[in-house]
Symmetry: C2
Subunit: 195 residues, 2 copies
């Protein structure tokens, strides 16, 4: 309980700030705007975050936490390389399509100026994820004795591109449902890179 | 010659503005900044573009012109659906990786606020391109009597995601060359969606 009451307001601040950054632009959004949208005093906001840079960094960290908790940690517990990769594709698509998290996760793909030391921390976590996916693809290719000329690295970038690009075109009311996308993308990727 | 002398300064303005928007953010860049970077008077800049919105719209239009000229128009002249799709994959990757055009084309993927009427014009051109790719994939599947359960629409989005995402990770000095990427992505896509 104690943990929740200290964490929740921070998450609400991050989510509201992410929404404002997307609606009106990162540069055009001031700390005052964020405080006003949350009905917080400026002091109340500064109690949690000292600057917009700090908010942006925590949004990006939170997006990576979400990927870690909902994708990587679940995938690690799955038996068998092929089933692990199938699970990763499904869970990563679900994170990208999640209405609740979209405000946060979309920020990962935007190139807002962040102080270099903070930018490096986020980029290191992104790279770890690429390597995790790459290793998993290599495992699947080995296990299937794949003769595919496709390298795990190019395949990892192709897969992450397919999935992360979803936010550019997916519409919840569109013809392709989330389940369709999981099924079709799994099919394309397994035939394409692991066959 | 006459045509060139009237078009060139506009293109230089667009390229410089796109670079500034990426380096320091769209909102944080003023018309004055753009004029100063070009060593133009403010009047000189306003002679070509009335507002930052107008510059942004023309950057996005120019990015779509590049796609039309260097990808669509070339692909249309190629014989045979399969060869047309292979050519499209290669040329689209080349446009995304082109150092000269990157400043312009990257802007297509960023979500800067544009007046709705202008936004609709750009989105209509993006949609036309998706349909062009989708129809080409359908042609290839038909011609190969493909039994693939992958729909042309999901395949088109997967392909465009793979390619458009390149700008997020490709490094000219990295291990994967442009030619490697063309070869690997063509392989993944043909096995994955048209086999």
């Amino acid at each position: 309980m104690h943990r929740e009451t200290t964490i929740e307001p921070r998450q609400e601040i991050l989510r509201t700030a992410a929404r404002l950054f997307q609606q009106q632009g990162y540069d055009a959004t001031s700390m005052n705007d964020v405080a006003a949208a949350l009905r917080l005093s400026k002091g109340g906001l500064y109690h949690h975050f000292q600057s917009k840079d700090e908010i942006l960094f925590h949004i990006l960290s939170h997006a990576m936490d979400i990927t870690e908790e909902r994708v990587i940690n679940v995938v690690r517990k799955v038996e068998g390389a092929e089933q692990r990769l199938r699970t990763l594709i499904r869970l990563h698509i679900e994170v990208v399509l999640s209405a609740e998290d979209r405000e946060i996760t979309v920020m990962l793909h935007e190139n807002h100026p962040l102080p270099p030391a903070l930018r490096r921390k986020i980029n290191a976590r992104k790279k770890d994820y690429v390597h995790f996916v790459e290793n998993l693809i290599a495992d699947v290719q080995r296990q299937r004795s794949s003769l595919s000329p496709v390298t795990p690295r190019a395949a990892a970038f192709a897969l992450l591109g397919m999935i992360n690009w979803l936010y550019q075109w997916y519409k919840p009311e569109g013809a392709l449902t989330g389940a369709d996308i999981v099924q079709q993308f799994t099919e394309i990727f397994f035939r394409g890179a692991a066959g």
